[in-house]
């Protein structure tokens, strides 16, 4: 197998593999792009997966041009995410029908549904061809050119099943709506479940309740300033800087901006602080799901997250919606007096190990906790890969994949830290991974603080010189991702030569992780479903965007 993959290392080899199915080349800034016919999708993707080792469908982007619709499959390898390939599938405007990729990658299931929903491309052979973000009865596809953006729509309930209607049919199973308002759904998620007793026989996450048109808002903002405040609001539970970095990375790639080293270190430190805050919250809310309301653990994690947020407030001026990164650097230098800031960070890092011991006392070594979490919500690595699962969820299934190491950005390459993986594949492993990642993040922060303390005063360049109006070359396309708290957060941007993006697509880690929920929870009990959902650590703001 490995020899086969290596044979397809170069772009030419890939083009050769696709052979005469290749219509033309459409290279993106991040990867070679291969344009193929809509009815070749499955055969090309199957070859790329089997022969060339592209085992990850990172993202499915749909977009509308004036003369055509286009679906882009962003492929990667779990073993080496820097090896990328984009498969571009154009379809005609009058009949946008393309073959589905769902049999090759399960991740295409939700990805293509989203493209259908927002752009209006239809996928032939898709097993579940429905809208995903917008209500079933929505008229039109908001990102298609002929859609009237200003026309208000009333979504009727007559076609949309009334969820509280009494159901007097007789059967052995019971249909249960979990959510959209349920204590354990971490937001407005609606999981349609079919129960046999307490066992979950079938489940179908119904998302979109928090759809805020984030992609379109970004398409209306200018690159230089107006987009940056919004990434904070995708994953709004304290991983703001990580999200901002995703946009910064994609846009800097697109406009070819170099970030000064000093700013990279500050970025790295800020991002890891955010990761700690986010993982603390994940741990605390997971405790809510498994323990019951108002547990000590939940409060302790919040207490510690509070310290992180105070530090971030000192640094960025806000507790959640940071808007701290700028293209080419960060908004400000560290707060004065610098010594005080370093001392705060160091105090936090010094106290952290004792707290981690406390968490281990209370959680991972608790026997009831183990009984609840070990071997529940099992996600096999192969299944995880097929769904495009990333982040702590993938690493809890033994998939050794972390973009900070595998596709280095920022200052991570120059620092000493480890990627944490666990082989348990269950809820327990995912908790363990998060707790150990907190420790690894602490290591990174400590090294960053050391560096920043030593940094010569005349070399503290926080922002590269970026023009006030940024207009990347027309037609430039890129897809760049970073390791956010929940997994791979990718941004696809296509420029049309103006100062706003022509297409801005967000690859949300929560979206892909949530799509694997059915694999984890079917056949298990309701409490395990709740625990699995908690262990995925989704934020609906990012799932629905």
């Amino acid at each position: 197998m490995s020899t086969g993959i290596e044979r397809h290392e170069t772009e030419e080899a890939l083009a050769e593999l696709i052979g005469d199915r290749l219509l033309e080349r459409d290279d993106h800034l991040n990867a070679p792009g291969f344009v193929i016919r809509p009815d070749d999708v499955q055969s090309v993707l199957a070859d790329l997966r089997e022969e060339a080792g592209f085992d990850m469908l990172s993202c499915v982007t749909g977009q509308a041009y004036d003369d055509r619709y286009e679906t882009i499959y962003h492929l990667k390898r779990y073993a080496d995410p820097t090896r990328e390939a984009s498969v571009v599938v154009p379809t005609a405007t009058d009949e946008p029908v393309s073959e589905t990729a769902e049999p090759i990658y399960r991740a295409a299931d939700w990805g293509e549904r989203e493209c259908y929903d927002l752009v209006g491309i239809e996928y032939e052979g898709h097993p579940d061809h429905r809208r995903i973000l917008l209500p079933e009865t929505w008229q039109g596809h908001p990102l298609s050119p002929d859609y009237d953006q200003d026309k208000p729509q009333i979504v009727t309930l007559s076609e949309h099943a009334n969820p509280i209607q009494p159901d007097h049919r007789e059967s052995d199973t019971m249909f249960l709506n979990i959510g959209p308002h349920h204590p354990a759904t971490h937001g407005v998620l609606h999981v349609k479940t079919v129960l046999d007793g307490e066992t979950v026989v079938d489940l179908d996450p119904d998302i979109g309740y928090l759809h805020r048109c984030e992609e379109q808002m970004c398409q209306q903002g200018t690159y230089r300033h107006q987009i940056m405040p919004y990434p904070d609001r995708w994953d709004y539970v304290s991983s703001g800087l990580l999200n901002e970095w995703a946009y910064a990375r994609a846009a800097e790639d697109l406009a070819d901006i170099e970030v000064p080293e000093y700013a990279q270190v500050i970025r790295t430190m800020g991002a890891e602080l955010c990761r700690i805050a986010s993982h603390m919250l994940a741990l605390g809310t997971f405790a809510l799901d498994v323990y019951g309301e108002f547990t000590a653990l939940f409060q302790y994690t919040f207490r510690d997250r509070e310290i992180v947020q105070d530090i971030l407030e000192d640094l960025t001026g806000q507790r959640l919606m940071f808007n701290y990164f700028r293209l080419g650097g960060v908004a400000w230098d560290l707060p004065e007096p610098r010594e005080e800031f370093f001392e705060n960070v160091r105090d936090f890092l010094d106290e952290l190990p004792a707290k981690v011991v406390e968490y281990n006392d209370m959680v991972t070594s608790n026997e009831i906790f183990q009984v609840r979490c070990v071997d529940t919500g099992v996600l096999e690595p192969e299944v995880a890969k097929s769904y495009g699962v990333t982040g702590p969820v993938a690493r809890g299934s033994g998939v050794d994949y972390d973009l900070r190491r595998d596709d280095p950005y920022g200052y991570y390459e120059n620092l000493e830290w480890n990627v944490v993986t666990e082989d348990g594949m269950d809820n327990y492993s995912r908790v363990l991974v998060r707790m150990q990642e907190v420790e690894e993040s602490a290591k990174i922060i400590e090294q960053c603080v050391d560096l920043l303390e030593e940094w010569p005063e005349d070399d503290r360049e926080i922002q590269a010189n970026v023009p006030r109006t940024l207009k990347p070359d027309a037609g430039a396309e890129t897809y760049r991702s970073v390791e956010a708290a929940k997994g791979e957060l990718g941004i696809y941007i296509r420029s049309d030569g103006t100062d706003t993006p022509a297409r801005f697509k967000i690859r949300s880690p929560c979206f892909h992780n949530l799509s694997a929920l059915a694999e984890m929870a079917e056949g298990e009990y309701i409490p395990d479903l709740v625990a699995s959902l908690g262990s995925l650590d989704i934020v609906l703001g990012e799932v629905d965007r």
């Binding site: 940056m228 302790y300 207490r303 001026g317 808007n323 707060p335 006392d361 209370m362």
Partner: protein, 146 residues
């Protein structure tokens, strides 16, 4: 279990009694805006950069500023208006306690924006970007030259 009991007995709390004890605000914190009419040159850059059209500027036909309206309820506190302002006429104080009975009460005109008090006499701009001029103490309320 022992851990929780230890916490119960040490009597420490990490929450604060909010209205009685105000939480500590970082000097960089971005709260409600303050506007200085004597500084403003009506270049409209803040209006242009605002990501969600929170700022509305009305000028007469000689390009003299007439109105400066800011919807503090719609604002996302991104601070871009302060960042692009060439004369530091608009900046974000650390005040975070403002209320209104209806959302229309949160639309501030320039008089209201001028009257926003400084927070504990900390200059927010100084802590954010020390090299930029500060105007702490100026424009507290009534001053209006136009």
């Amino acid at each position: 279990m022992a851990t929780t009991m230890k916490h119960a007995l040490d009597g420490e709390t990490f929450t604060v009694e909010y209205p009685k004890t105000a939480p500590e605000i970082s000097p960089r914190f971005r709260g409600i805006h303050k506007f200085s009419q004597e500084r403003c040159i009506w270049c409209r850059q803040c209006e242009k950069v605002c990501p969600n059209d929170t700022i509305q500027i009305v000028m007469d036909d000689q390009r003299n500023g007439e109105q400066y309206n800011l919807h503090v309820g719609q604002c996302i506190y991104c601070r871009l208006c302060e960042e692009v302002c060439p004369v530091d006429a608009i900046l974000l104080t650390q005040n975070f306690e403002f209320t209104g009975d209806t959302k229309h009460d949160l639309v501030y005109n320039k008089e209201q924006l001028k009257a926003v008090p400084w927070y504990k006499d900390i200059d927010p701009l100084e802590s954010r970007e020390p090299d930029r001029g500060a105007w702490i103490g100026e424009g507290d309320g009534e001053v209006d030259y136009q």
